[in-house]
């Protein structure tokens, strides 16, 4: 047995990515060249052209732009301000209250937005000014937003979960529902991280001015729109009224109506929301198409089979192999951004994990939580860089320092998910 062709393939891919070739092109190029080696030019080009055409013409994937559109409408309707105001009204007067309010507001925003970067960027603009005004330390403020933003890809809708579902053939609706409890755990974990930070250093999170009950109720009324939208979209999926694609269309339309009613939607902002959606969609689909070609190559080259064979031979307990995979995610997450990481690793690991007897819906949630951690760990914590653009005067080092308690909370969450798979699997098991 000579050298397996997937090894030079993986090495070439990582080299091209690190040398600055855009990820979509690196994956497409290495995948196609690899296929030429394996099945000859004719077969390789036919696989590549089928993949390109079929990825574009995919009904299931139309959920991606529609959910992105929903998030963009919601952002332009100014719902992020109202969410923060409501969370602040209830939590702001406690110690570290502004930061806790931010964690909850990020979770709320995630419920209508499927992207972590958008959640961090939007909530950053809303929550930072008020946290700074009342003296929350920069590193805590930045940390809570960077971490809270990661919830965007776990709390449904989630673009990453859609991609995971398409790659592994799992039901996207079930994946969404499975993300709810771990997402709520994420919010609670981040609130706990804020409390611990403030207990260690009371100056980090001073109290905000308190609000009356009347103000609390008035602020709460402002988030009814978000709540209704979430219940419509996710409730509709849960009850089996909509497929994920239909829910995305209905959700985008609902967000459009909310934006219209808010009076903030002009022809100009409508155009911006649509253009931004189109650009994000194209970027994501380029990576997706490249990754699918690469996955074809990796599969034909036998990497998933080799891994399964390896797992059989070493005869370790499944848990040990899973731990190894998670460690790998932690390392890879330091280099790759989230979409590419999921697309690159899931086709390789999913067959192995399924072979070990784990549920692939559950594994999807675990992968997304690992991806969330990768979004806030150095050196390529993308959410941290998003915040850096909102907060140019705070050094990167102090943002990363502020993120540490939240990473610890995330690690506890992964541990819980591993110990109690029902946290992810219980809700989908009740679905209509």
């Amino acid at each position: 047995m000579g050298i397996e062709p997937w090894l030079p393939g993986l090495v070439a891919l990582l080299a091209l990515i690190l040398l600055g070739l855009p990820i979509a092109f690196a994956m497409g190029l290495v995948g196609t060249v690899g296929l030429v080696v394996l099945v000859g030019p004719r077969g390789a080009l036919s696989i590549a052209s089928n993949t390109l055409f079929d990825t574009g013409l995919s009904y299931t994937l139309s959920v991606v732009p529609l959910f992105i559109l929903m998030g963009n409408f919601v952002t332009r309707a100014g719902l992020s301000d109202k969410l923060y105001a409501a969370c602040y009204a209830w939590l702001g007067a406690r110690r570290g209250g502004l930061a806790m309010a931010t964690a909850v507001a990020c979770g709320g925003f995630s419920a209508v937005c499927g992207s972590s970067l958008a959640t961090a960027a939007t909530m950053g603009k809303v929550a930072l000014p008020s946290m700074r005004r009342y003296g929350t330390s920069d590193s805590l403020a930045a940390g809570v937003i960077a971490a809270g933003g990661t919830l965007g890809i776990l709390i449904p809708p989630s673009v990453i979960l859609v991609i995971y579902g398409v790659t592994t053939g799992q039901n996207i609706g079930a994946l969404f529902i499975a993300g709810i409890i771990p997402g709520v755990l994420g919010i609670l974990g981040y609130m706990a991280a804020v409390r611990v930070t403030c207990a260690l250093n009371p100056a980090a999170g001073p109290r905000g001015p308190s609000t009356t009950l009347r103000e609390k109720l008035a602020a709460t009324r402002g988030v009814l729109g978000v709540l209704a939208l979430f219940l419509l979209v996710i409730g509709g999926i849960y009850a089996g009224i909509f497929t994920a694609t239909e829910a995305a269309g209905v959700g985008a339309f609902g967000a459009f109506v909310i934006a219209l009613v808010s009076g903030k939607l002009t022809l100009r902002t409508l155009g911006e929301a649509l253009a931004e959606t189109a650009a994000t969609t194209t970027m994501m689909f380029s990576v997706l198409a490249g990754a699918l070609v690469f996955a074809h190559f990796i599969n034909l080259a036998g990497l998933p089979a080799a891994l399964t064979g390896f797992a059989d031979r070493v005869d370790w307990p499944p848990f040990a192999i899973l731990a190894l995979i998670l460690a790998f995610y932690l390392v890879l997450g330091m280099v790759l951004e989230s979409l590419s990481m999921v697309l690159l690793t899931v086709p390789i690991f999913a067959p192995l994990v399924a072979g070990l007897g784990y549920d692939l819906i559950w594994f999807g949630i675990v992968v997304v939580v690992m991806t969330e951690i990768s979004l806030i760990t150095p050196p390529v914590g993308l959410n941290v860089f998003v915040l850096k653009t909102v907060l140019p005067d705070v050094p990167l080092g102090s943002i990363f320092k502020g993120v540490v308690p939240f990473i610890l909370a995330d690690i506890v969450r992964v541990g819980l998910l591993l110990a109690i798979p029902g946290l992810a699997l219980w809700l989908p098991s009740l679905m209509g």
Binding site: L18, G20, G56, S58, G249, G271, A275, S286, V287, E337
Partner: protein, 155 residues
Amino acid sequence: MIRRIATFALSATAAVLLMAMMGLTVADVVGRYLFNSPVPGAFEATEIMLALAIFAGLPLVTARGEHIQVRLLLDQLPGAAVWLLERLADTLVFLLLTGTAWLLYRRGEDLAAFGDSTILLGIPLAPVAFALSALTGLAALVAAVRAIRRLKGLT
């Protein structure tokens, strides 16, 4: 000037397609639940609109250099090496887009030869493939222009 008109035309196309996808999905769901009659062929129309919207965005994303890229190593390298690597990446992006346009064109020819069309609406698929090929070709052209401008240090 041409650049601005083309940018506007492509953005507007993608925008209209997205709004249409949204509207069509809603109409389909409402039709099914309220009037017991889903929009016939909504599924197929959505697929084709999605593909056109994605590829209409390709020249735009390429022009702005917004393809996802890892700069971790580039940021550590000396300027001359970065310059060289960026020129190589620009060239590869151009070549790969050209190759993609060619693949989609070939696909269009195959579809035309078999006369493939969608099942319910009978939309012929060859023109769709040719349109995707043309949009990718445009993206390749944009990539070439961008590569040359960057080579001259203009952008």
